[in-house]
């Protein structure tokens, strides 16, 4: 059994897992430093849960290797890796009390009885479940079960904590609370965490680094800010909230930027990846970066079609004269059939090379 915490880096080297004839995960290379909070992000079926299960040892690798410093891990069974894991459905032992659930990992490690008691009580306090320690999991609410699962995973002081979409079964308010709670535990206990989610907001708010996956392949590894402001390709842009994706053609280079034409619009933006004049491209911009022009004559004339009330802001779908639909967010009151002029912020408009569909 490995002692938790004492390692410098965890290295995934070309980790590949095939199911049937296709790669669920293809050649994942990733180095995780101690103390990092890494999120594997992607739509369902992208291979993020496969990656997590490979790390935990619950799925054998088809190719590749996993190393903790100089120790090879992928040949060890899960019980010898010394990790903690929080499952999507929590996987609490239904026949054991909260206290016994949390103590389970310590008892498996043959920790002395008094030490088991001390650390279990500490973990129960950590997740504020003192009043429920003798209840069975079935008697707890979803959020409480979630906290038991987290306590059970961290009480063994694992070298790595794996979390498989742990918040997806909670309601919106609790999800926000637990998000903060998980990040707080990560920091105060000095954990190293690999977190899997399909929720980009969750990923951005919690992580030190994001690994964006699509169809089993890594699309981008970077800080939340890098992934948020400069997605590596149009698929990530789509996933990261660039709701307006317009097929365009590059007209000319303009300094650092490019000018593109499409759907009767002429737009300026910054290119991501090499694209030259005349080539097909995709222009991407978030709804919140589409502004309503201050004075007439300044922008593109559009007609409002659908308005959704979203509290402080409105979300609207508008259509240009040439029939190109665009989404925008605004604090101004709009009504369907209003005619307005909009401006697309050139600094926030990204231009990606158009790829044939299905290419990564």
């Amino acid at each position: 059994m490995t002692d938790g915490g004492r390692f410098d880096r965890l290295r995934l080297d070309g980790v590949t897992r095939r199911f049937g004839g296709s790669d669920a995960l293809a050649g994942l290379d990733l180095t995780i430093e101690r103390g990092e909070f890494i999120t594997l992000l992607g739509p369902s079926g992208c291979g993020k849960s496969t990656a997590l299960n490979c790390l935990a040892g619950l799925l054998p690798l088809t190719r590749g290797s996993i190393w903790r410093d100089e120790t090879r891990l992928d040949t060890l069974p899960p019980e010898q890796r010394g990790f903690g894991m929080v499952f999507q459905n929590y996987a609490l032992f239904p026949h054991m009390s909260v206290r016994k659930n949390i103590a389970f990992g310590l008892r498996m490690r043959r920790v002395a009885r008094a030490e088991v008691r001390r650390r279990t009580e500490e973990a129960i306090r950590l997740v504020h479940l003192e009043a429920h320690a003798d209840k069975l999991p079935g008697q707890l609410s979803g959020g409480q079960q979630q906290r038991v699962a987290i306590a059970r995973a961290v009480v063994v002081e694992p070298s790595l904590v794996l979390m498989d979409e742990p918040l997806s079964n909670l309601d919106a308010k609790l999800r926000l609370e637990m998000r903060t709670e998980i990040r707080r535990l990560h920091q105060s206990l000095g954990l190293t965490t690999v977190y899997v989610t399909h929720d980009q907001e969750e990923a951005l708010s919690m992580s030190d680094r994001l690994v964006v996956l699509r169809a089993g392949r890594v699309q981008q590894i970077g800080t939340p800010e890098q992934v948020h402001t400069r997605p590596a390709n149009r698929h990530i842009a789509d996933f990261m909230g660039f709701r307006n994706l317009l097929p365009v053609r590059v007209a000319e280079q303009a300094g650092d930027g490019v000018v593109v034409d499409g759907g009767g619009l002429r737009l300026t933006g910054s290119p991501v990846g090499g694209i030259g004049p005349g080539e097909p491209a995709v222009a991407a911009i978030r709804p919140e970066d589409v502004r309503i022009a201050d004075q007439p004559g300044g922008g593109v004339e559009v007609t409002v079609e659908v308005v959704e009330y979203q509290g402080r802001e409105l979300s609207a779908e508008v259509r240009t004269g040439d029939g190109v639909p665009l989404h925008l967010r605004t604090t101004r009151r709009l009504a369907p059939k209003d005619r307005i002029e909009i401006v697309l912020d050139p600094a926030r408009l990204l231009v990606f090379p158009a790829e044939p569909d299905g290419a990564p």
Partner: protein, 293 residues
Amino acid sequence: MTPVAFRHRLAERGIDAQLLLLGPAAVFVAALFVYPFCYGIAVSLQPVEGGPFAAYQAFFRDAYQRDTIATTLRIALPAALLNVLASVPIAYRMRGRFRGKRVLTTVLVVPITLGTVLTAEGLLNFLGPTGWFNRVLLALGVVDAPVTLTHNYWGVFLSLVITGFPFAFLLVSSYLSGIDPSLEKAGAVLGAGWAQRFFRITLPLLAPGLATTFCLTFVLAFSVFPSAILVGDPSGTTRVISIAAYEAAYVRYDYAGGAAAAIIMGLVELVVIGVVLGLRSLLYTGSTAGGKG
């Protein structure tokens, strides 16, 4: 109160037209179980001579009759226990999906379709003094004289295992498949080896199902009749209680005695089931899921 409101109030307590769907089952149970059972009790309480309990007194006074209870228990309890215990590792290994699962399950379950008589016939041919089994043992020099496995206790025991195991296996498999597989995964990540995972996680969740399975296979084994005669020793070591009932009713034409033996048989079964279910209630019997789905 309007009739509509009244109907709503009844429906809230589960009384509505759908209740009529229970009709056929109720008729069935009444005609095929309750009536014959009460009739049996009545017959057993009307012996030709003596008071109402004379047939019971006669049963317990005569060691030849009384001992059938112990004889039957000696066969049925170990057979039921073996059926349950043998199905656990096999069903455990066969969880999840793998190639050939359907074929293997079919092979394990086929004996259910064989009648007791066919099983007995096969046992006599296979395990008899000149059967393959003994011929192989003799040829290998393991034994000097054929081993006697038919027309005694072992013949009946084996026959009960062959016909009872498929039941136990099917039941245990379905109980096992109801246990959330992520629980064992969680156990593994937390450092539990396979034995700890099995004994601390799976077995406690499976135990109530094993108790139920035991009860069902026990009842099947306790009412053994054809194989006790065909591959057993019906006048000695395998003179089970159903033989006693049969002889009383159809050899001696003592209907009260036969009915009394049958009622006693039912009571013994009830006691065993009561004990097992009593023990079962001490176990954790709640959900076997690991949390929200």
